[in-house]
């Protein structure tokens, strides 16, 4: 280290960065800030700007924000009409509510299934833990699309599940499972389960066993210990996992498109229709902005809950 910091190259670079007002700390912060700027703020403002325009048949298909008036003055053309349009038509409200409903239900099921799995992995002896974790991550090595297609094979009328149930004589006529909300829930829970398990595992594995021993010594049953010690301590993991499932689920497009039925109304599909079928980029942008606000609100709330917990 000393040899390195004494080298002329190192000192030269350090001097240059110092002249530019960049310290090592500044650089480390600059990278995520740049990322945030380029991949979140800029697209967000582009969307916001399009959402204030009107659609027209042109290249690009919306009105410009600035236009020269007849007298040469610069005019700003913007209106909130598209947001009013979303508010007025019950379709969009229903689509948002239905997306939230499906996302909440899938998150709950992912938690109910994911928690015991994460708990089991965290309590397993070391060597087995890595094998179990590998098994959780392994499905990611095949394409997500392929795995959803596999579910179509399971759920369809002439599919694996129906054929099995029929041959066992449990049912006479095939169950309609594909193209229902049920199939969408299965698809989402299946796809996002690892995102629930991994943060939970990371949290549970850090749990100090001294707490559990103390609880046992004080006469708490395993059940009581779990609900009064383990569960509250794993809350940050539950929140992290739930957010990782809830956020992508609410805007999910591919899974409802492949597994859902015609009446599966989700905001991703509505957005697609506005953008592609109506060619109405401004309304599509407004739909996206409203969704962003809807998703950001619960995140901020969860974040504040977590912060308060950490302060306590």
């Amino acid at each position: 280290m000393n040899a390195l910091t004494r080298s002329p190259v190192w000192r030269g670079t350090a001097w240059l960065f110092g002249r530019l007002g960049l310290s090592g700390r500044g650089l480390v912060i600059a990278i995520p800030m740049l990322w945030f700027l380029v991949f979140f703020l800029v697209p967000f403002f582009v969307l916001g700007r399009i959402s204030l325009a009107e659609p027209r048949i042109a290249l690009p298909p919306y009105t410009p924000l600035f236009e020269r008036g007849p007298d040469g003055s610069l005019q700003i053309i913007a209106s909130l009409e598209n947001y009013w349009f979303l508010w007025e038509d019950a379709l969009y409200r229903n689509a948002y509510l239905s997306s939230i409903r499906i996302a909440v239900i899938s998150t709950v099921f992912a938690l109910l299934i994911g928690y015991p799995i994460a708990y089991y992995i965290a309590r397993s002896p070391e060597p087995r833990q890595s094998i179990l974790l590998l098994m959780v991550i392994l499905p990611f090595w095949t394409s997500f699309l392929l795995r959803v297609y596999a579910w179509m094979g399971f759920l369809r009328r002439e599919g694996v599940i129906n054929n099995m149930l029929m041959s066992m004589g449990v049912i006479d006529t095939p169950l309609v499972m594909l193209q229902t909300d049920f199939a969408v829930l299965i698809g989402i829970v299946y796809t996002y389960l690892p995102f629930m398990i991994l943060p939970l595992y990371a949290n549970l594995t850090k749990l100090d066993s001294a707490h559990l021993e103390a609880a046992a010594d004080l006469g708490a049953s395993p059940m009581v210990t779990f609900f009064t010690v383990t569960l509250p301590l794993s809350m940050p993991g539950i929140i992290a996992g739930s957010m990782l499932v809830f956020i992508p689920a609410i805007g999910e497009y591919v899974i409802p498109a492949l597994l859902g039925g015609p009446d599966t109304l989700m905001i991703g599909r509505v957005l697609w229709d506005e953008f592609f079928s109506s060619r109405d980029w401004p309304v599509a942008s407004a739909v996206a902005i409203v969704m962003l606000v809807l998703v950001v609100a619960p995140i901020m709330w969860l974040q504040s809950v977590q912060n308060r917990r950490e302060l306590d």
Binding site: L59, L91, D263, L265, D280
Partner: protein, 366 residues
């Protein structure tokens, strides 16, 4: 309007595109066409004859193509929109006019069809016909006979739009195209309305009709029905002619006793044209003209039709098309049926919004 057979084609060309590096280099033409809508041999032959390498990419809906074109700088030299979409895209300034001097083979084109297409592109200034087809009913012959009797003849939209008849076949599966520009005109034709109408009340009447049979529809999708018809998963599909016939071919190949056929309803059906056009900002416009001129060679157009089962718009190619296809009234309809076909219309922004909104209501029941 689309095919799915050449997945391999799409992937090999995608690989070529990657190996090729910059697509702007000399001697390249970037083609963006419907999935499985051409044969590999034709592309190879083009490269052999002209030395121009083809970078080929595919899409499966007009909407996808349009979104890329409207965003600008798509980088494509040749694209294949359906004529109704082409009309609006021309208005948006997406295309450059064709240079007739570079397209001597245009004399091979069928004048009557080109005149029909000119209703979307005056004087055929921006595009020539690639393939065309109809939107009709594909069905499973045995399953329909089983439910509606041996004597029932599929020749009317009532099979899907009459709630009583639709209810009888619902159990074996009905599918609708997820394409309002195909479905609304069909419903209007059944109701005896002008299928080219853009009046809101006509769309509402059509939407009400489709909502009345919606419970009998298993799904709305524009390509899933090909394999589902072929393996008996569904028994009735509103579909595009060549796609249904491809399902019929697949069913026959599978040899599991599924027999699929295609009908053009007597109330009338939509005739559509997929058009070859050159974006205004195409990087290689000369190569694009060379490609389009090559496609208009009779033997090339015939080779494509023999593979995709959609008719081309090339009168000089007709004699070169396999007899089995040439004489099939489901592919090349008789003059009597041709008279009952109608062409699509291009909707303006306001109508688009009405149509999309009503379509969502039909599809979701909301």
């Amino acid at each position: 309007m689309k095919r799915l057979r050449a997945r391999t084609l799409a992937s090999t060309t995608a690989m070529l595109a990657m190996l090729g590096g910059t697509a702007q280099a000399q001697g390249v033409v970037n083609v963006f066409n419907w999935s499985d809508y051409i044969t590999d041999e034709v592309l190879e032959q083009f490269t052999e004859e002209t030395g121009i390498r083809v970078v080929y990419d595919v899409y499966d809906s007009n909407d996808t193509l349009e979104a890329r074109l409207l965003a600008g700088s798509s980088g494509f030299d040749v694209v294949v929109p359906t004529a109704t979409f082409l009309e609006r895209q021309i208005a948006a300034g997406v295309y450059q006019p064709l240079d007739r001097d570079l397209l001597p083979n245009i004399d091979n084109m069928d004048e009557r069809l080109m005149a029909s297409a000119a209703s979307h592109d005056p004087d055929n200034a921006h595009a020539v016909i690639y393939m065309w087809g109809t939107t009709g009913i594909g069905y499973n012959v045995d399953m329909i006979a089983e439910r509606l009797g041996e004597d029932y003849e599929v020749d009317s939209w009532s099979l899907i739009f009459d709630p009583e008849i639709a209810a009888q076949v619902a159990d074996c599966g009905i599918s609708f195209l997820d394409s309002p520009t195909d479905m609304f005109p069909a419903a209007m034709a059944y109701l005896g309305l002008d299928p080219q109408s853009t009046a809101t009340e006509d769309f509402e009447a059509a939407a009400e009709l489709m909502s009345s049979v919606r419970d009998h529809v298993r799904y709305f999708h524009s390509s899933q029905y090909i394999s589902d018809l072929a393996n008996g998963e569904i028994c009735v599909a509103v579909g595009w002619s060549g796609d249904v016939l491809q399902a019929a071919e697949r069913a026959e190949e599978a040899g599991r006793g599924v027999s699929v056929w295609y009908a053009i309803p007597e109330e009338g059906a939509m005739q559509w044209f997929d058009m070859l056009a050159i974006p205004a900002d195409a990087p290689n416009p000369e190569n694009a003209h060379a490609f389009i001129n090559f496609i208009m060679k009779p033997e090339v157009a015939a080779a494509i039709t023999n593979y995709v089962w959609f008719p081309n718009g090339n009168s000089a190619a007709f004699e070169l098309v396999d007899e089995e296809i040439r004489t099939d009234p489901a592919i090349y309809p008789s003059d009597e049926v041709m008279d009952k076909l109608f062409t699509g219309v291009t909707y303006d922004g306001r109508t688009d919004r009405v149509v999309t909104r009503l379509w969502t209501r039909v599809r979701t029941g909301q």
